[in-house]
């Protein structure tokens, strides 16, 4: 009987070998694949297994980490003024993943980043508890508060930049949401999240980065820059040879101004002061679609911007001449995010140099050592220093005597531009009120800001960039100036 016994022994050996091979297959070859399954809770469990690092503004954390009573997750994310900071931090939920900075810098915040390998190894020997690193932002707490308070019950968004560096100083969106309300994994968290998703006001939409609005008259700054850069006029005080009304090309429809304002043959400076549609519509038409796109691109249009949180691409479209003329005054298919319009103001304020906007200043190890620091980077030069200074004069004129007087700050030079963007079928819906501006001191410009307010007031005539948006911009600028 020994021959079959030996064969059976081989057979049993084969069974064990098959198990060993299969084990190697799933635990070694397929391990990464299995770890990446969306069903696998381990990534999320690990994210909250240790005290999560913080997102820091002006040296103070705006987030926290609290011990959670869930058996799945040891810690839970908390926020201070969550609604105010949500457009910056994003959320980190036990049930619903994470987004924005909480997601992008997750490996630093959890402490699992490869760049923290040394710290982890060290703390293994010192027996220190594992803890996440910090994300230090460029934001200015006072400016953010001014922006958020300014928007209050209105729908809208604010983006403020430091023109010299591109640091994002404020990034507010309203209505907002408190990420704490669904950070856990209880039934309440689930309900809160569903309510937020279904809210027709879209509180979880980051309007400052992810919503594009028709920029309206604020875009005339870009059109004016295009005119100057392309040498359409020699000076900002030269008459523009423009009729009122301006007949749109290939169309019988005339382009008119809002109200009776002195726009016929107005100079660039006067045209911007009164926000003449006829003048800027004609400039856009004279330059043509290609040149307008070229200038808009230099200001950052038509591509996504990573701050590192992604901002939607603003759009200056390829279009037929009548639409191109309308796009030149910020209508038609022209779309811009509030961040984009803040970039326009900052490029002008920084003498024509556009800096890349960013909101993460540095990443810190758990022991507060800096792991990486973001250096300011020039993105492009939309206009020459001389042209930029001319455009500054025009924008400062707008605030001094034009439509933007509400943004005046005593003792500080302020340049700005209002906008009232029509939208909806036949402009039936309440327009968007825009204001872009910058403040200037002796040492250059410390802040440029863009504010948009969606159909805030019941009375259509009251909605204007000057009335609704300018005071918010002013408050943000003042907050930055005072904190310097």
């Amino acid at each position: 009987m020994n021959k079959p016994l030996r064969r059976i022994a081989l057979f049993c050996g084969f069974l064990v070998l098959a198990l060993l091979l299969r084990d190697n297959w799933i635990q070694y070859v397929k391990a990464d694949d299995l770890n990446g399954k969306s069903l696998n809770l381990r990534t999320r469990i690990e994210r909250y297994a240790h005290e999560r690092g913080n997102i820091i503004v002006d040296g103070n954390p705006v987030t926290g980490s609290a011990v959670s009573d869930s058996t799945y997750f040891k810690y839970k994310r908390t926020w201070k003024d969550g609604a105010m900071w949500a457009p910056v931090t994003g959320y980190a939920s036990q049930n619903y993943d994470a987004n924005q900075l909480e997601k992008i810098n997750d490996d630093i915040l959890t402490g699992n980043s490869d760049s923290l390998f040394f710290d982890r190894t060290l703390s293994m020997f010192t027996g220190e508890k594992k803890k996440g690193g910090n994300v230090v932002t460029t934001l200015n707490a006072d400016a953010q508060k001014a922006a958020f308070d300014g928007l209050k019950d209105k729908k809208g968004a604010v983006a403020a930049l430091d023109p010299k560096t591109g640091k994002i100083l404020a990034l507010a969106s309203s209505p907002s949401y408190d990420p704490s309300s669904f950070a856990g994994n209880t039934k309440t968290d689930e309900k809160n999240y569903q309510v937020l998703l279904k809210d027709k006001d879209k509180p979880m939409l980051n309007r400052a980065l992810r919503e594009t609005y028709p920029p309206g008259s604020t875009f005339k700054v870009v059109t004016a820059a295009a005119a100057l850069e392309n040498g359409l006029y020699n000076s900002i005080d030269e008459p523009t040879r423009s009729p009122n009304p301006f007949k749109l090309p290939q169309s019988s429809k005339p382009l008119e101004n809002e109200g009776t304002i002195p726009c016929t043959n107005a100079t660039l400076k006067v045209a911007l002061q009164w926000s003449c549609n006829t003048v800027f519509g004609k400039i856009s038409d004279d330059l043509g679609n290609a040149k307008m796109i070229e200038e808009a691109d230099k200001f950052g249009f038509n591509k996504e911007i990573f701050t590192p949180v992604r901002a939607d691409a603003s759009v200056y479209p390829k279009d037929i001449p009548p639409q191109n003329a309308m796009a030149g005054i910020g209508q038609a298919s022209n779309r811009a995010t509030p961040l984009q319009m803040a970039m326009v103001a900052s490029a002008v304020a920084n003498d024509g140099k556009l800096m890349k906007p960013y909101m993460v200043d540095q990443l810190q190890a758990p022991n507060l050592d800096s792991i990486s620091k973001t250096e300011p980077k020039e993105l492009s030069r939309p206009l020459s220093a001389a042209n930029a200074q001319n455009l500054q004069k025009m924008m400062e004129n707008v605030v001094a005597v034009g439509t933007g007087t509400k943004a005046q700050i005593p003792g500080v030079t302020v340049g700005g531009k209002t906008g009232t963007a029509q939208h909806g079928l036949n402009n039936s819906e309440k327009p968007y009120a825009w204001f872009i501006s910058y403040a200037k001191t002796d040492s250059g410009s410390p802040v440029a800001v863009a504010v948009v307010v969606e159909d805030g007031s019941a009375n259509r005539d009251d909605i204007s960039g000057g009335g609704l948006a300018a005071p918010i911009a002013k408050a943000v600028m003042q907050a930055v100036l005072n904190s310097k």
Binding site: M1, N2, K3, P4, L5, R6, R7, I8, A9, F11, C12, G13, L15, V16, A18, L19, L20, R22, D23, N24, I26, Q27, Y28, K30, A31, D32, D33, L34, N35, K37, L39, N40, L41, R42, I45, T71, Y72
Partner: protein, 465 residues
């Protein structure tokens, strides 16, 4: 300890009993298990577990008693079987205790801490082990009970049909207020005894009285009868008890023993054909089996996940373990939820001890089987050979079916991992299995009695002048 004296050229050899080797190995086995227990406590609570002394003393006592009984009643037994069983059982207890500590499992309905109960069942198992060694002086006695064994195993197999199914499978005998029993675990041993007794008597008839058709030896109809009965029985188990594992185990066991008894390859072909026909036809109308197959083919598909996440969770647990594992008490294998400490306990091994630990465990089972096969080879009587190979291949098939199921190699079946998994019937039955193997190996390795001295030997020697 008799000294073998022969007049042949082989000199006098002291036949080694290997009991001291066994003792050393047992010390290691108990030490590793206690260390695992301490490791769990340190990882979860940061302190040595309070029950550590009791656990350590308990395990040492059980191993010690086992060893002393083997030393006294089976002095020539294989030295590896007892330490391997002790180590697996000890690690199993540590793993079960570890899962008892899981807050996620504590949240589940029907949660009960079972480690101390399992320790008690282990004690019962070792008691049975001792009883078998003390009472069963010679394994050949079992041969007398061939047909009684058949009846008992049939009763044990059919019994669960009359009890309500537990989680979709009728493999339990539940007596309210008393407890529940998995008779299949005991039937595995008893049916091996029946097969051995039956085949020992019939092997010649089965092997020789056959017709040759197309190169294969086909058995006569009357010899075929009992085989068809077993085949039908395993199909019936599959249909009425929806117990894929047990039916696979019995049929596999029978084919293996038939092959060993008759030395006819045709029986394997015949057996495989019959099991294939049975499995396919049952799978074609039994939704429970179909679900299992579907879950095996694509554990992450939407339809599978709607029915069960278990295999997917088990695979992810293995995956997250990687090469070295997370360390005991530091993994998330409790995400498997239901049956995490019984059918799926290997997933905890995979996640917390990693590929290395998992391979070590699988090789330990492999080693038990190897010692069993070696015992079969060394056994001098056909009954002992058949019983030893039957028991060890039953263990091998069971390990393959369970481990293959949780690792997604074959469809999942409702069986438990011998010694490691939680479950009283399983641990008690497997200790009895080891006891029988030890008894056979003792007989097999016992030195042959010295030949009776021949009175003529001296006289016939050539005396040189």
């Amino acid at each position: 300890m008799s000294v073998v004296t022969n007049t042949t050229t082989i000199g006098a050899i002291e036949a080694p009993s290997r009991r001291n080797t066994e003792l050393m190995l047992l010390v290691f086995a108990v030490a590793i298990a206690v260390f695992a227990y301490a490791n769990v406590g340190l990882a979860i609570n940061g302190t040595l577990p309070a029950g550590m002394l009791g656990y350590g003393v308990g395990l040492t006592l059980l191993a010690g008693v086992g060893h002393l009984v083997v030393r006294k009643f089976a002095p020539y037994a294989d030295p590896l079987l007892l330490p391997l069983a002790t180590l697996l059982n000890g690690i199993g207890l540590a793993l079960i205790w570890r899962l008892d500590q899981s807050p996620r499992l504590k949240e589940r309905d029907n949660f009960a801490a079972v480690a101390s109960k399992q320790l008690m069942w282990t004690a019962v198992g070792v008691a049975l082990f001792v009883a078998v060694l003390m009472l069963l002086k010679d394994h050949r006695i079992l041969q007398r009970y061939t047909y009684i064994s058949m009846v008992v195993s049939l009763v044990l197999l059919i019994l669960p049909v009359f009890f309500p199914p537990v989680y979709g499978a009728r493999i339990w005998v539940t007596i309210p207020g008393v407890g529940s029993l998995q008779p299949g675990e005991f039937a595995k041993i008893i049916i091996a005894i029946f097969f051995s007794g039956y085949l020992m008597v019939k092997r010649d008839a089965l092997a020789l009285a056959s017709r040759r058709v197309m190169g294969l030896y086909l058995p006569r109809g009357r010899d075929l009868g009992p085989i068809l009965v077993i085949w039908a029985l395993s199909i019936l188990i599959l249909v009425f008890e929806t117990d894929l594992g047990t039916s696979l185990l019995f049929f596999g066991l029978f084919v293996v023993m038939l092959y060993v008894a008759t030395e006819r390859t045709s029986w394997i072909v015949f057996g495989l054909l019959m099991s294939a026909v049975g499995a396919v036809s049952v799978a074609s109308f039994e939704p429970h089996v179909q679900q299992r197959v579907q879950a095996w083919l694509d554990p992450f598909s939407k339809t599978t996940l709607a029915q069960t996440e278990q295999i997917a969770q088990s695979l992810m647990a293995f995956g997250s373990g990687g090469t070295l594992g997370t360390g005991l008490g530091q993994g998330n294998s409790d995400l498997i939820g239901f049956a995490a400490n019984s059918d799926f306990i290997l997933a905890t091994v995979g996640e917390e001890l990693g590929l290395a630990g998992m391979m070590a465990i699988l090789l330990m089972y492999g080693l038990i089987v190897e010692r069993g096969v070696r015992t079969a080879l060394a056994a001098r009587d056909p009954f002992g050979k058949l019983l030893a190979i039957g028991l060890s291949s039953a263990l091998a098939i069971q390990v393959f079916v369970v481990a293959g199921g949780v690792m997604g190699l074959i469809p999942l079946t409702g069986m438990t991992m011998p010694f490691i998994a939680q479950g009283g019937s399983s641990v008690v039955a497997n200790w009895a299995l080891i006891a029988i193997l030890i008894r056979i190996s003792d007989t097999a390795r016992r030195p042959a009695p010295a030949p009776a001295p021949s009175p003529d030997a001296e006289m016939t020697q050539v005396v040189r002048p």
